[in-house]
Amino acid sequence: MWRLLGLLAVLVSFDASAQTLVPYRIENGAITQSLTGVKGDAAKGRAIVVERQKGLCLLCHSGPFPEERFQGDLAPSLAGTGSRMSEGEIRLRMVDSTKVNEKTIMPPYYRSEGLERVAANYKAKTLLNAQEIEDVIAFLVSLKDDTQK
């Protein structure tokens, strides 16, 4: 499966009239290149993850956020993400998790096309921008300890 994805190694480019997305390359089940070239800020990333109207992450995931009440249970805990996955694998899952699992419930955080009936306010916009994605990745990579559920 990964090999096939690697072979296909899609270079994604989007319609310039919409929000201009940074092109990225999927190789061996990962996007190894940073979307921005600017190192993500883990503290900002954490803030996005816990912000319910922004990252939306805790609607489905739980994680090592003792101050946050009401974390969802539809998806795996984010604790230990950095031990389970490489940075590039996390980036692919953030950008468009359907590339990993077509049936996933996880929203594509960096995709604005191929979506149906998107509300006018959100049309042609991605859930997060490229730097926000990098911030979240920097934070998730830092979650090393798999025991703190």
Partner: protein, 253 residues
């Protein structure tokens, strides 16, 4: 283990699944306080709308100056089981019509009154009053082959990914029912209590309002009230919930 033993084990595991209905009303996901509120007519805020609907039912209106009762008589008899059968085929337009649509049609064509607004107080109260007459009755979708296309459209919409979040109804309400989205338990999306009083809304609302609620959460363009899509989804859900008991007016968190 030999093959026969395997077979016995498999059948043994499968039997309970056949024996009991895995479908659960949204009522079963609620806390005891909210359940008690629904069950007690004096505490159920939806009953205020039912009473208002009863008054409207008996009040002459429109150019015809006819009340609903003038044609339909005693609603406790004539409207019994009606809400359990909608959406139905409308012979005149040859398209599916929901209960609210039928009430609008009656208001306009027979009473010659202005069309009540979708989600307006008049229509919700009348719907609640009519719905109340089917409380505790099983949902009984019409055995009408003409509705097949509508139900199929509803089924397709139920499974279609939508909005910026790219969710389908089925992903939450089939695959993840019983799970929690943040604090909120995800129910199985049965349409068996509408119109219902939603504590979050602090008001009575229709099933189609609930669709719009979910869809805006998915950052999708909601189905307009009374649209073909909304009625199709409603028809699919009623078929999916066939046999479950109506709770109108239900209370939900």
């Amino acid at each position: 283990m030999n093959r026969l033993a395997c077979l016995v084990v498999v059948i043994g595991m499968a039997l309970p699944a056949f024996a009991q209905d895995a479908r659960k009303s949204g009522f079963d996901y609620m806390g005891p306080d909210t359940q008690a509120m629904q069950k007690d007519d004096l505490a159920n805020p939806g009953m205020l709308s039912v009473l208002e609907g009863e008054t409207l039912w008996n009040t002459p209106t429109g150019k015809a100056q006819k009340s609903c009762a003038a044609c339909h008589g005693d609603a406790t008899q004539s409207m019994k089981g009606v809400a359990a059968r909608y959406p139905a085929m409308d012979d005149k337009t040859q398209s599916a019509i929901d209960l609210a649509g039928r009430i609008i049609q009656c208001r306009v064509e027979r009473q010659e009154a202005p069309a009540p607004q979708r989600e307006g107080r008049e229509l919700l109260s009348l719907s609640a009053f009519v719905g109340r007459q089917s409380r505790d009755m099983p949902i009984s979708p019409p055995q009408d082959a003409k509705l097949a296309a509508t139900r199929a459209q509803g089924a397709a919409l139920y499974s279609a990914r939508m909005g910026q979040l790219n969710f389908s109804c089925a992903q939450c309400h089939d695959d993840n029912a019983g799970g929690h989205l943040g604090a909120a338990p995800i129910p199985q999306a049965h349409p068996n209590g509408y119109p219902l009083y939603r504590l979050e809304w602090q008001s009575l609302g229709s099933l189609q309002r609930r669709f719009r609620n979910c869809m805006s959460g998915m950052r999708a363009e909601p189905f307009a009230a009374g649209s073909t899509e909304a009625i199709a989804l409603e028809a699919f859900l009623m078929e999916r919930a066939a046999g479950m008991k109506l709770e109108t007016p239900a209370v939900r968190p």
